[in-house]
Amino acid sequence: MTYLSIRDLSVRLRNGPPLLRRVSLDVEAGEVRALVGESGAGKSMIGKAVLGILPPSVEISGGQILLDGTDLLTLPPKDRRRRIGASCALIPQDPLTALNPSHRIGPQITDRLVDILGWTRADAEARAKALLAEVQIPDPDRVLRAYPHELSGGMRQRILIASAFAAEPKLIVADEPTTALDVTVQRQVLDLFRDLRRELGTALVLITHDLGVVAGLCDRVAVMYAGRVVERATTDRLFAAPRHPYGAGLLAAMPRVDERPDRPLGTIPGAPPDLRRPPAGCAFRPRCARAAADCAVAPALVGDERDAVACHRPLAGPAAVDGAPGAP
């Protein structure tokens, strides 16, 4: 069942250039969906649009965001906030700044349950304690009374994760949740996502630039470039046979720790475009080895939710994919 459906969503700077162009994307109930891309690709903007937390300088210029069948963008602001608050949560990137330094940890988890969802204080505290134990935080009672600065970065990120799962939301948006962490802590967080997801069946939108993080956790992937979805695929298909030259380039550019460095890394020349001055036609064209004259016209995203590419000259299809089917 489709829980979140984003249809032709466009977002722009007020009176300025577009940041997202007709983005379409479905997330099934309980699915882990990755949004992959480099800085400026627009992946965080999608998460913010869904959660209704776009910065004031940015506006939605078209499209629909259907949450469990209801278009959030047609709801009055108050209803929209209530609906999002009751069923969605955010895990932000930076555990060092996302917690209020002058408040103890406990209320930062429980206030939301009490104020928005109407739980009793005692229920909320019991829930917070159970969740901290779940995310393997030793001595939850002490931690609930602690201030953020008394805890390590890894602990704080686990607390933010516990806090996001606290109200058993249907959908969590995790925006680069492991980027600021050491690899050892990152691995713990990935293990934790895997467990919580299995136990609670929460849908997760994982925003990341790291394909290594995508590989073990996600069912399907949307690759973003310069404000557009350029490829949608199951995780297995993307890693085995990427079709957009950008996705293929990203995979080839990833150094692997389990591989001898015998061949040079693949490189993509140039840098992601400046969104204030987007190139005409396919935005990847200036960096693309396969580009030709027709790439001056932007290609449409053609295909379905499991397999789609926006390219006039895509790489060979997924004929040779093996492994388990990734999508539910």
Binding site: E38, G154, R187, G212, P255, I268
Partner: protein
Amino acid sequence: MSTESLLSVRDVTVDYATGRGRLRAVDRVSFELGAGEALGLVGESGCGKSTLGRALLRLVPLAGGEVRWQGRDLARLRRDELRRLRADLQIVFQDPLASLDPRLTIGQSVAEPLEVHRPELGRTAVRERVGRMLARVGLGPELHNRYPHEFSGGQCQRVGIARAMILEPKLVVCDEPVSALDVSVQGQIVELLRELRRDHGTALVFISHNLAVVRRLCERVLVMYLGRTMEFAPSEEFYADPLHPYSRLLLDAVPVPDPRVERARPPLAAGEVASPFAPPSGCVFRTRCPVAVEACARDVPAFEAATGSRRVACLRWGDRVTARR
């Protein structure tokens, strides 16, 4: 110790005075680096790798030990000798934009080390060298008069590398030079560093938390934890068969862009870094170590010769090797 070492680091110790008392950031670290070699310094944040990098350049004072540069103690160099040495020893920082002077064009930024260290060169010669160096890192002449804020992170890092390489130094210390960059650009910079090393024979100390990047660039790896060295090994031996349990933990944590590998992974019991203000007795890693025994709380393991040129600080590495056979 070999006399042909470019850099010889012996029992280097660095202390910081903090509000909570003395912090030993680097604790008796020793290693050798030959001309043209690349060493990766790895470990979690707070392990002391960046501080050690700065100690090598005399940017922080030593509380103990010595750094010898081509056989000479860095701490005993005269001012003019140190100045000459600065030309041979360069650093590339993590944040490419913050490490460039915003008031200088990139051409001026890259020319500056030449003007300081090679005053005999005329303006034409400087301009010619700067042009060649910038072309080498992929920045064309049309960009020489631009300012850093007009550049992307990857371009700024190219400028930082050009600035470090313009004097043809013998050693460049790189402190997380690709961590702030996009994946596609990170690959470009890693390949650039590889080529520059090959062409100029520059030695590298490459400080990074990214073990996959270190494998691509470095022949040797030094693993640090809470200021101490855990393992020192040739890269390929290290990646194929790490001897220290901490090395194993670090390698097992790195995500691999391959769904079959990642889905088959068992959960990792990674634990938490102990407080550097109250490091554990004996082996500092024992509180997270899956094979620790009682003796590990009592005895500080020596950083001792293991197989070949490898060294390891672990009471149990020998048991582990025997157990596997």
